[in-house]
């Protein structure tokens, strides 16, 4: 046994850690095909926009796969980062929509309407950077990531983890909601920032613009999947798993554990923020109802249903739960929350690895068995007809 195995590993070692396994490439092509080709062909503009909205949550779910699934850091406050990203984008759009010409009926023209209603007469200092589009695009990611860094550094340096960390993230979600609602003059309050019109002069309310934004969103999502895949595949990804198993061992292997946890949390926050900004652009407003505890927990459920260890699973899970939410709550609005709760319990009890786990056990194993079955006979003798490239995939 030793010798053949040894020579085999030696010859394969060059590529024993590929960026993506064939099955993962297949999953990526499948997902990209559905998002970028099938759905746009099948759905009308309204439904497509709805799917685009769902997909913005998938960014959050992706981040949770890295942060929760891999690093074992459960965050019940991802809505905070989704919301901060969304608000940053909304502030830019609102300033653009509040030109003097658009707001000449106000007592102070040129400022957002809700500020005028709250007797504020000048744009506050923290709104100033959002006059510039490039600066906004940077801040969309930078503000949530810096905030995440601040929280997580303070927590992880003191070795606060597990449930305590989850509770603190939840508290932060509650605090931020209260803050936004309370500071109506600066934030638009409970209504949020509404009546957004143009992005650098480009009207985002038309069907055409929404379709373009859908594709931008889809493209960004694929890019984020690849980025998350890079993190997962790097040694850092394996360190996160190792930390989840045996934190002390990692520490006594010479790593500063806190630094890696901060990275995982900030990475997840950054992804959530991109999702939030795309949400604002596609839906046309941002409000505190996407920041608080309930949306944050829903986002965790998306990742759990999809499979917290699978990037692709997280996206499918998000789509599925949101689709179910929309169809259910149209017919039985009262029952939806119970349905969601039942779904979560079912996931935890029956299939802890979510959709991805079912896929892996049921379909992927059969698939690889078939592919291996095709490849297994010594290829030197029967290569030509039995291995057409397209065949094994189906």
């Amino acid at each position: 046994m030793t010798n053949p195995v040894q020579t085999l590993t030696k010859s394969v070692t060059v590529n024993d850690n590929p960026f993506m396994k064939p099955v993962e490439w297949l999953s990526l092509v499948l997902l990209a095909g559905v998002i970028l080709v099938v759905l746009p062909l099948m759905l009308d503009s309204f439904r497509l926009n709805l799917v685009g909205k769902y997909l913005t949550y998938a960014f959050v779910a992706l981040g949770l796969v890295i942060c929760w699934g891999y690093a074992g850091i459960l965050s019940l406050g991802q809505g905070v980062f989704f919301g901060l990203g969304g608000y940053c984008m909304a502030m830019y759009l609102k300033l653009e929509a509040s030109s003097v010409a658009n707001t000449k009926i106000q007592s102070t023209p040129g400022i957002p309407d809700f500020m005028d209603w709250n007797q504020i007469t000048a744009i506050p200092w923290f709104w100033q950077p959002f006059k510039s589009l490039p600066l906004t695009l940077i801040l969309v990611v930078a503000v949530p990531v810096l905030f995440a860094m601040l929280i997580s550094f303070a927590m992880f340096k003191r070795r606060v983890g597990g449930t305590y960390f989850a509770i603190i993230t939840q508290a932060i979600a509650a605090i931020l909601t209260i803050l936004i609602v309370g500071q109506q003059g600066y934030t638009g309050g409970i209504n949020g920032i509404t009546d957004l019109r143009t992005l650098h002069g480009w009207d985002i309310r038309t069907d055409g613009a929404k379709t373009i934004l859908y594709f931008v969103n889809g493209g960004l999502l694929i890019a984020c999947i690849l980025a998350a895949q890079y993190v997962k595949k790097s040694k850092l990804g394996r360190i996160l798993v190792a930390m989840r198993d045996k934190e002390d061992r990692v520490r006594f292997s010479g790593y500063s554990v806190a630094g890696f946890k901060v990275f995982a949390f900030c990475f997840a926050a950054g992804l959530a923020a991109i999702g939030g900004a795309m949400f604002t652009l596609q839906v046309g407003f941002m409000s505190p109802s996407f920041v608080g505890i309930v949306p944050s927990i829903e986002m965790v459920i998306y990742a759990a249903v999809g499979g917290r260890l699978s990037l692709f699973g997280a996206v499918w899970g998000t789509l599925l739960v949101n689709w179910a939410k929309t169809s259910f709550s149209e017919s039985f609005p009262d029952l939806w929350l119970f349905g969601l709760g039942a779904l979560f319990i079912a996931v935890v009890l029956a299939f802890p690895n979510g959709l991805a786990g079912i896929w892996r056990e049921q379909i992927e194993s059969r698939l690889t068995r078939r592919v291996k079955g095709l490849r297994a006979p010594p290829p030197a003798i029967v290569p030509p007809k039995s291995t057409p490239v397209g065949a094994p995939a189906e």
Partner: protein, 261 residues
């Protein structure tokens, strides 16, 4: 005469202060007033295998915890190659060259044997370094060499949770070896091992001590006799006796509290 001439320049060169690899002095830690380690001093020389023995609750594991920074000392000093360790973080202590094995095998169940060893490879320890870490020939060769040493070269692709208890212990020793520490601390490395595994472990330890010092906690007296250069006996947080196994065994104080039942 001849010998004296030969040895004198060597003595001259090493002269000045005695070069202890590790100098533990007046080390004390108290948990809510209870002194788990009380005024403990001992010195470990380069290339020495030192075994710490003592009854349960003597403070053996606490001493290792103090050295590797897991527990903070209340008083005293721990100098490693002249550098004070009590002020450093755990990861800084590891980077200074101190490796620690825990009592129960502490490995990453969800990763393969190869990946377990790879994480311990002393490169790319910063966040950025880990993101850009490349699994190059140097890493692979070293991992294969270590796997050979710890009798796991055929298990490299196996998930670590499927290893036997003894194999897990070896894997953890391997994870320390790949860090190439100058001071290796092992907490009961043969506990729960079969006789065969025990013999192999002793062989392994004798193989890996070249160029480093080893500090071992062990209960198995047969094993201690096989490997120890010197033995330190702890009792109720204090050093009771120290010296060769022969001397310690015949120390009446030790016989009274420990060996003599």
């Amino acid at each position: 005469m001849n010998a004296a001439i030969l040895s004198s320049p060597v003595v001259g060169a090493e002269a000045a202060p005695p070069d202890h690899l590790l100098a533990v002095e007046a080390l004390t830690v108290s948990f809510d007033g209870f002194k788990a380690v009380n005024d403990v001093s001992f010195y470990v020389e380069p290339d020495e295998i030192r075994v710490i023995i003592g009854p349960n609750g003597a403070g053996k594991t606490t001493v290792l915890d103090l050295i590797c920074g897991r527990t903070k000392a209340s008083a005293g000093s721990i100098k490693y190659k002249g550098q004070e360790l009590t002020k450093l973080s755990e990861s800084a202590i590891v980077q200074a060259g101190v490796g620690r094995k825990f009592q129960t095998p502490s490995i990453y169940d969800d990763l393969t044997v190869f990946e377990n060893l790879e994480i311990s490879f002393p490169r790319g320890r910063s966040v950025f370094g880990a993101l850009t870490f490349k699994r190059d020939a140097e890493v692979r060769d070293r991992i294969h060499a270590i796997a050979e040493t710890i009798f796991l070269k055929d298990q490299l692709k196996e998930r670590a949770e499927f290893l036997s208890h003894g194999q897990k212990q070896w894997l953890e020793i391997g994870m320390l070896l790949i860090q190439d520490p100058e001071l290796l601390m092992l907490d009961e490395p043969v506990a729960g091992m079969s006789v065969g595994e025990r013999i192999k472990t002793a062989e392994l330890l004798n193989q890996i001590i070249k160029g480093r010092s080893v500090l071992v906690i062990e209960h198995d007296m047969k094993f201690v006799e096989d490997i120890a250069h010197r033995v330190t006996v702890l009792h109720q947080g204090k050093v009771l006796s120290e010296g060769s196994m022969e001397r310690v065994k015949n120390d009446p104080k030790v016989i009274e509290v420990y060996l003599g039942h």
